[in-house]
Amino acid sequence: MDAPPAGEASVSIRGVSKAFGGARVLNAIDLDIRSGEFFSLLGPSGCGKTTLLRIIGGFESASDGAVLINGADVTDLPPYRRRTNMIFQHFALFPHLTVAQNIAFGLEMKRLDKRVVAEKVQAALDLVRLPDYGPRDVGKLSGGQKQRVAMARALINDPDVLLLDEPLGALDQRLREQMQEELRRLQRQTGKTFIFVTHDQSEAITMSDRIAVMSGGRLVQVGTPREVYEQPAERFVAEFLGSSNLIQGTVSAVTGGRAEVRVRDVAIEGVARAPLSPGDPVVIGVRFERVRLSAADATPAALTGAVTGCTYVGATTRYELDSPQLGRIVAETPSGDGPTFAIGDTCRIRWAAGDASILAA
């Protein structure tokens, strides 16, 4: 496993709940975010990730629980008294101010000397690689430039924590990828704690040190990208990150961390991701790309399937199979090497036992 970067808890969330009217948006969230880590809150829209971010920033108040930043309780502090800064979804740059005035805003509020402010603004502009943009009108900037100005405006205040509310959502695909790298670079360069809200799983996986997967107002799983991807704790995670085959069955035996599941007439072994006991209904999650296909042979009790569909995706080829033992199975294999199959072929289906996650149904 990737070791998460060492560091003290930068942000601690203790039993935070939030209800709007009668609707519960966050349910007793407990979370520690370490100093200097790039931490993502990942989940579908409406899962509560943005609300949690806004509670950390002070824009919403928690109905219950506490928020600590560097050990100090900030639960009741307004945003202007917190050492956090936010990158808003549409950047929220002040349209009546120039780029430099936007960036200087936070320092101006602290009534710093004008010369010091000018120097720091220039340093911030250099940091985001827009050295000559100070006098420009923010209305005439491109999406990527706005993003950079928003970063400079936040980072110039030397916040303990930088909060990012889907800041790449407003950008087109190519720019998104550039800005992902840019954000990572800025995070490494400044060593700040970044809390990044996104609904894009690949973005979270490629950028984060750790990810908290959220659903329906609760934390489903917290871990490194590799952990949440390869060891999903719940069916939701297996479905939300990447693409998995989900095979229904019933637990027949549990030994240590492993479990045996009866699916139709066959027994399948996998890693138990939750406490299980025999008789529990479960799903076996196997990622498309972990399913290996080979030509059918005479091995007794082998899993087999007939190819019913074949899609060339570029780097990979996606096969759909109909298996008498498992039902519908999808396998995604590298296009370059290995055997290829045609519709109607019968294949042998295999995967490593470690790649099968036994999850509560």
């Binding site: 956090t84 002040f94 209305g139």
Partner: protein, 292 residues
């Protein structure tokens, strides 16, 4: 081929702008042109003498009376504008802080008085400020004054109160609209960057509502500079404004040509005032929705 297409497109464009152009011609250009021409005529007992002459302008500027009344009107209009701005801004701001039904009711309450005529809205101040009016009764009832105050009506102050009241909606609406357009995320951003509520207001809300303020000020200034009903009703003899002088040329002395000249003088003066004030303010910012 392309020529035909081109001319067809031109024709369509012409048809599209035709109604607006017609409106401008009928309601703005023709009356203004007529006024301008008439201001160079002379009124005689047989009607107009249509020889062009500068006599009317000479009369207007030969005596200090007209110039001083004109300057007074500009002064009153300027004070009215400032007072209206200061008193209605909080109202417009309050409206944007309300949500849903409360906001609709608040706006409705602002509008209702304006469904009645301008004259009626002016008249309501008579029972309010008169000798036996509401304010005097209240003051006497509370024992603050022994006998009714006379100065409440028929003074410059009364005229100002009346003008501010009568034109307040023309200020509130544009300010309300420009406040309402401000993205709430901008205030959150200001707060995030360390601005307390007061500084959020002065550094973000106030500057971003400038287009609304400018457009409200222009409206109120224009209307107040030419006002004549309110000053006459509430100001008595002290309330003579330039508008009254013009009105009397048409209504009392029937010297239309001279009235036209005075009107032109007023229009030019207002235009110069606005050009002076409006430097640094882009007009498209004021009149086009979403100007920033």
């Amino acid at each position: 081929m392309t020529g035909a297409l081109h001319s067809r497109r031109r024709l369509r464009l012409a048809l599209l702008v035709a109604p607006a152009t017609l409106w401008l011609v009928i309601f703005a250009i023709v009356p203004l042109g007529l006024l301008l021409v008439m201001s160079f005529w002379r009124t005689t007992i047989f009607g107009f003498s249509k020889e062009l002459t500068l006599d009317n302008y000479r009369t207007a500027f030969s005596s200090w009376v007209y110039v001083s009344v004109l300057l007074d009107a500009i002064k009153v209009a300027a004070i009215t504008t400032i007072l209206t701005l200061v008193t209605t801004y909080p109202v417009a701001y309050a409206a944007t802080r309300l949500r849903g039904r409360a906001r609709s009711l608040f706006l409705l309450a602002l509008f209702v008085p304006f469904w009645t005529s301008y004259v009626v809205r002016t008249f309501v101040w008579l029972p309010m400020l008169g000798r036996s009016g509401f304010i005097n009764s209240l003051l006497m009832g509370l024992g603050i004054v022994g006998e009714p105050l006379d100065g409440l009506l028929y003074s410059q102050a009364t005229v100002l109160i009346g003008l501010v009241y009568v034109y307040s909606l023309f200020m509130i609406l544009p300010i309300y609209m420009s406040l309402d357009r401000i993205d709430p995320a901008l205030l959150e951003a200001a707060s995030d960057l360390g601005a307390r509520p007061a500084r959020q207001f002065f550094r973000v809300t106030l500057p971003l509502s400038k287009p609304g303020m400018v457009s409200g000020c222009i409206m109120v200034f224009l209307l107040a500079a030419g006002a004549f009903v309110t000053p006459q009703l509430l100001g008595g003899t002290s309330g003579i404004m330039f508008g009254n002088v013009i009105a009397s040329q048409y209504l009392t002395t029937s010297d239309w040509a001279f009235g036209a000249a005075l009107s032109i003088i007023l229009i030019v003066t207002i235009f110069l005032c606005m050009a002076l004030l409006g430097r640094g303010v882009r007009f498209e910012q004021v009149f086009v929705a979403g100007g920033h």
